[in-house]
Subunit: 285 residues, 6 copies
């Protein structure tokens, strides 16, 4: 659809109150899923982030990279193994995880943001000891899967103060000198809390929380975190949504104003969320 | 026309390169004509300016106020008299000019910008001795009509550094302690030059420079200042356009990158000029 | 009287402890009455203020302008009407009030201070939304007479930090978009409180608070605010002094160290107040 | 050997003039060879760098990683192929190079420096568009081997100003959106020049420039860059030393005060170079 | 003993954790005794201080000067008289004390530090009214011997912020305009407390606190201030050690982390104290 | 003479243009002669300096101390010997000079300024290596009389930036580690030049330059430095005035705007010079 210049100007002006609302605030975006694979969606996300930076929003981009890790493991003849959705991570695997996340996915995102005239810097949990972790306690031995014990946000804040969008891979250093693989949703929630973020946005491949999983029209736009236990009991929150919504609840409990599950398959879903009254996806507060 | 959220996001993203281009730059807008009378247009201009401020453009708003001055003079039973388009300004008149411009029009614009969540401060040439003037030399005695002898832009820069849009009335102090009425287009050009502005935008009630005054489709979009003398000789630049285009030429000669004559009757004409490739009106460089 | 150079030097040196006492402190002066009409007194006040600025005192000048307003109203054939000393202010009148105060009186003071080599900036309650007001509740409908609901002193502080004496007209914006006329004494007291001023000085046309109104020798030099109710009951505080002294009490109650009623008819009365032990007029603390 | 406390103090004090000489200066260290493989040497290098940072020297650590790259390539069943000492780099290889350098070697060094109580940040040429490159022009098609066209040192300087040792992997972004592999010695020289470094130190696995390759006692301690052509003609500079010494000459020509080839097999060779009069290895100036 | 370069480097690296521990902290050194007389020891102290300054420690040097004072008094034919170890100080004597301390000893130390490439400034208690005092109350009239009533550390902090080592003579101004001689140990303790110093180091001519005064091997390395009364009762703390240890206790009680009595007769005793685990002398905490 | 409050205010206001003229400028005062001996004059000078500091003038006070030195030398039984007005200074003498100037006179002035509520710091040429000197070359061996080879004004500027009046004793460090006695007039001239001072004021015990030495009414108020040789030839400049006027000429030649010889026997002579049109004494430019 062709949009006339005057309409364009009107759209810009209508964005004003939203820009004013978020200027100077920190928004942590967990980037993953289709939005990270489809080239057109990827391009839209990069544009959204550069625009946010330009109007004065402090964006922090936390990314995953499951498919790329699996592909690389396959290349060296190693099969990916998962327990309850978590990757079993032996020493060789955590090495590959670190390389793929911090060396490939991360720096490729930086390169893309710079190509969109943004300013970006690629960091991981090891830089400035940003994330410290210990072995995740669980029934099954998952190897070098870690849980965060400390977040040192100074290096993120330095990056922001210098005008860069920090792009973050979620591997962390252990007290034993080892490296641990950290779930990116969880890390994003913890980082958002530490930065006193205004929003945590988790990009997923679903519309949001649906009352009836088969019907996207049953989306629940707003959920108070106190209502989550009941929704779990009713089975409305279940399956893959469970850990994601737990991250949202955790973030809100630790002081993040609002946490969102949005549909990364929709182009410019971040901007739509930020710059419209109705928003998109499901918001937790 | 209703615009879908995704299209809105796309419009925002397409504004990115223009925002990047002007962020941190100074743009002086001479505000006047219909855009200052029609309530809807006025509202659009205020929105445009607050948006520009928000995305990091330093806007300086220089305004006129002829109709309000005439109305007030009429109220005290005094007729407005003009010679070659310039108001004959006796002592009583210059008093009214100062009151109406610096006390009413100026502060009302400040109030309006603040109501649009902008930050604004109302100044005139007397504040911080911003504009110094002497009596304009002309064939006819025009009274207290002045020509600028000095511009001290510090108070404008202080206002910008503190985050306010400076709104400026063009009365100036003379070395004799008198106040002089200054043509607002001329003052805007001089201020733009002093601030090393990226752009001077003169809002008028015409489409721009037309090759055939009767046909708006004959608009000349771009004019090199070196071509102006020839256009004058051909009679294409004539009448009321003469002094306005002289201001544009003067501004460019003194170092302003580009000067524009735009049509204030078109809603959001400033944003359209800034945020589209084709622009609007006539540009001088 | 001719004063020898050595005596001049001695006078300067004797001013030292007073300068040291007030350097870096804020002093709000409400300027009005004869000191604003008589040219010689006016000149002395301007000198006093520039000197105070130079020795490091932060002066804030709040002014009235009743006579000029009445004169302008008369010019447009409108009579001034007062109820309990307050001007009945219809829509047309508030327009004139704003023009005369913010456009004429204010900017003329700025021009005068600049002519005395001071640095000044003319502001009103609309600039930076400094003063917000609502309609004054009173038995009689006074029209657009307002009472202050919010003071935002940032724009005053910015002006001071940039080295300008802020000169302030007391019109304020309402939440309804209207402009309200504010009593200048009241506004000065509120501004002084907001700025944690060291002193509020109200320039009047009386010697100070007199025990016997007919005898200037009965001046009461110092009054504790707790003694004011008794002085009112005794009739010593009455008539036109009532609202002025209420302002002093209000200012002191809100944290201003000292409030003074001084006689603006005495040349350099501000400096005499500041730079002598005995002071001048009546001090409230 | 046990050293008595007083002797220790004496050693510290004797380091004084050297510390004073380099405090506030930038020293670029190209880290590679044995010093990067042997655990004890590695540990000594990390200590040296943290000490340098602590006494106020701005250290920039540029690293290679040939052996790790070859190992990873081997793991995916790909053979390393070299032409004139340069790795032939197809698309799959450059991907591995980026991952291994920026994701593994780089972040492991950061982790190690942090473990030594240093502050470090891992960067590559893509971060903040630090290094831009184009395909290296050469007789043989080397694939994605690049030559630097632009260095943007701002991100390095930001890191230093924030108190981090920048650890840099030498992959660079092309104008075509591709990633190019850059020779680390060459990149270190260019970065040193851009930062107006006091010194460029290339850590190698040789004693320095030897007059007789078989006899380490024939080391040439100091070489003026103008003498290099003659030394080449005489065959004293030849083989693997050729490109390294070209880097030294290039750095000096572009304004680096001194360039050094030191023997990374000697423990604490960097400190010995900095903190003794005789230095170590061969110095070019 | 000749120390090899590699050993030197190792010594430097081993100092790392100590440097990291004290960088940015304030250490007040009371300088006196043999270390101030013996040229070689003096030289070592100067080196130690310049090194400390260089690695980011804020050193404050408080000095005495008893022997120089006695020598000068003798020169003018006046005998030194002491009561309980305190100099009886008549008007003529305090004059000499001030001259010798602030004019000779102080400035000579400054000159020496500057000769060691340090940056130093010589201050006394009169500069910036750093130390205010009144006559010491005591059984015997000691004349112009004072006790500190106020410490104004701003001038010391200014000196540090400007990069100078403050060298301080302990004469103080009285409220009566007189000058008082202050015990340097006491002054150092008070200054250390005011600066929230990490350490107070008193340089003496003894090993430390000895359990058996005749046997240096009985040194008590660490004493909790709460144990001091008992040690006094046991006679272990007695004689000349009494006032020195009282200073240590006073300093610790007022917030100084640790106070040390070290043996100034050992070369580089300050560095040995700071840069070894076992330290030297006796530490109070 | 009793001066009325209003007259006092008038005097203050009349000082305005002078204060405005010198605010932010540096004025170096060489203090000596009667003004340093007579208690009432001394008090007046202290007041003048504190006032100057308060109104924003950067005062630097350079002092002599001949009489105190002679008195001290006499006390130790040593006679003062002069050649061409310069003190013959053996090793023992220079020691006394340093002690008396830097330890007694200097700090006593600091104490006095502080007692007048000023902020002062006592420095000498050794502090921060402010003055470097070598032995003065002259026909007669004057011993440790030096001539300045370098001025490092940083420590003076640091003192000013921190808000202290620097009080300076003119002893300087030699490259040989010795201390040299420097003529205070000469040092003041060199310091004034280095600080790009607006004025150098030499306080003397004469009216100024007199055409007829016997008649104070023949004072020459203004002298261009180019006229000095002629005045010397005519014998008008002769005797003790010769070196003082040479200092003035030297200062002006090195860029000081104006140099003054004023009569320190007149109370507040500095303020009279600064704050009146006619000034006092003789001005060189």
């Amino acid at each position: 659809m062709e949009i006339a210049n005057e309409d364009r100007a009107r759209v810009l002006v209508q964005a004003l109150p939203y820009i004013q609302k978020y200027a100077g605030k920190t928004i942590v975006v967990k980037y993953g899923g289709n939005a990270m694979i489809d080239e057109k969606l990827k391009d839209a996300v990069m544009s959204d982030i550069v625009l946010m930076q330009l109007v004065g929003i402090h964006v922090v981009l936390v990314h995953g990279g499951g498919p790329e890790i699996s592909a690389m493991l396959k290349k060296i003849g190693k099969e990916s193994r998962f327990v309850h959705g978590m990757r079993v991570t032996d020493a060789e695997t955590v090495d590959i995880v670190q390389m793929v996340l911090a060396g490939k996915v991360n720096k490729a995102l930086v390169q893309l943001l710079e190509a969109h005239s943004g300013h970006a810097i690629g960091l991981c949990g090891l830089d400035g000891s940003m994330l410290r972790a210990e072995k995740l306690v669980s029934a099954d031995d998952l190897g070098f899967v870690g849980q965060i014990t400390e977040v040192h946000p100074e290096i993120i804040q330095d990056a922001e103060n210098n005008g860069y969008v920090p792009v973050i891979s979620t591997v962390a250093g252990g007290y034993d000198g080892e490296v641990y693989n950290i779930n990116a949703d969880v890390a994003a929630a913890r980082i958002a809390a530490c930065l006193h973020a205004e929003k945590l946005i988790l990009m997923t491949d679903v519309r949001g929380l649906l009352r009836d999983k088969e019907d996207e029209r049953t989306i629940i736009p707003v959920v108070q975190v106190s209502a989550v236990p009941k929704l779990k009991k009713e089975g409305i929150i279940s399956g893959g949504m469970l850990p994601k919504i737990d991250c949202c609840v955790e973030a809100v409990r630790r002081g993040v104003k609002r946490a969102h599950i949005i549909d990364g398959r929709i182009s410019h879903s971040i901007l739509v969320e930020l710059f419209s009254d109705e928003g998109i996806g499901t918001m937790f507060y």
